[in-house]
Symmetry: C2
Subunit: 227 residues, 2 copies
């Protein structure tokens, strides 16, 4: 197996990252899936990632432990720290918020890529439904790629590292259509912020809302298991 | 205290990062020190970082747990993974090697900066003594800064995030002279790869060699405690 057809795919266990994995495989890449245990409220997402990694026969699936909540805690609970907006912040930051998330996740993917001598990293960012996040835009991804190519010996030696974002300009409905043509079984994916232990979705949170709407617009039956 | 005079400083406990912390403080920054527990062979470096953070009265010192060795292990021990150069790699990679190190460390600093609304990050990279590492060059740091300013809301909203590298063009002797004028007590810093439990240096490894040479060239008595 040559290095050229290996890729690392960031896999949360949700709809977008699962579709991204299917796209990478459809392009002929042998995929190494990377998930993060970063203090999620429930295990349903990571359990979904494990199932999907097995179903789609990835070469290897790594779940990387990283507890970024230590920073959040410090700013919001330590009164010796001067954070004037602490109270309003605690209301603004959603429970699932991870600071500098895509930058941290891509950097850890880059570390793995360096060890495995892999030049291709896939991430399911999407600028359409989540246009509020700066680190989901093409401009950001391009800057990350530029930085990554200066960061490692491989990049400097001319083995260009590419960050692939196949979903970046697609709507949720278009993502679902794309995944469906690639045979993705979305019943295994978990998008809900409040999923139960079996991975069943609440049907009411923001993430459930976008997902439901997507299936509706795509004209595809929603296989999501609801509580 | 305004946000303008707060900074995050990456602090390993070695000579360079300690000098960097002193420089940041001399520029009027109230410093938040960030160290990493990433599977170092000995605790001496982190113990030194703790002592230095206390001595220099940083606002807060965080030791962040991140085990990047899980990637190294996987490539070198899992025979199901196709790594043709695994054996030669294991000889090439020093025991202290951390893949994509500065990128991962800066990204975690960026996460903390985002939470604390800090716009200044200091890192003691140096392009002179370690010119072999791509992620110690000014070109890389500039690209990182550019990416970071696209990654977070603060950057997008015009609060420019700066990565400061006060040592980047200095020789080891110049760094030691600079730190000495700022009152750094280098007897507390640990650079040695094989330091003992008390932080005493072996005097023989590469790192000890560069450090010894630096004090000699600077014409400053070497306060390092040797075994």
């Amino acid at each position: 197996m040559s290095q050229e057809n290996k890729a690392i795919v960031l896999l949360s266990g949700g709809l977008d990252s699962t579709t991204t994995l299917a796209v990478a495989q459809s392009q002929g890449f042998n995929c190494y899936a990377l998930s993060f245990s970063y203090g999620q409220r429930h295990d349903a997402e990571l359990n979904a990632a494990k199932k999907i990694a097995t179903l789609l026969s990835v070469v290897e699936h790594k779940i990387f432990d990283i507890d970024l909540s230590v920073f959040k805690g410090s700013a919001l609970t330590d009164h010796s720290i001067d954070v004037p907006l602490a109270h309003s912040q605690s209301q603004d930051i959603p429970i699932t918020y991870v600071p500098a998330r895509n930058t941290v996740f891509l950097s850890i993917a880059l570390a793995w890529a360096e060890v495995l001598k892999i030049n291709d990293i896939f991430i399911g960012v999407n600028a359409v439904d989540y246009s509020g996040y700066p680190d989901c835009r093409g401009e950001y991804i391009k800057a990350y790629e530029c930085m990554a190519n200066l960061a490692t010996k491989a990049g400097v030696e001319g083995n260009k590292l590419s960050i692939h974002t196949p979903l970046i300009d697609l709507s949720k409905a278009e993502i679902i259509k794309l995944g469906s043509t690639l045979g993705v079984d979305y019943s295994y994916t978990v998008s809900c912020y409040a999923a139960d232990a079996q991975g069943k979705a609440c049907g009411n949170c923001d993430s459930c809302h976008f997902r439901k709407q997507g299936f509706k617009e795509a004209g595809i039956a929603d296989p999501t298991l609801y509580i």
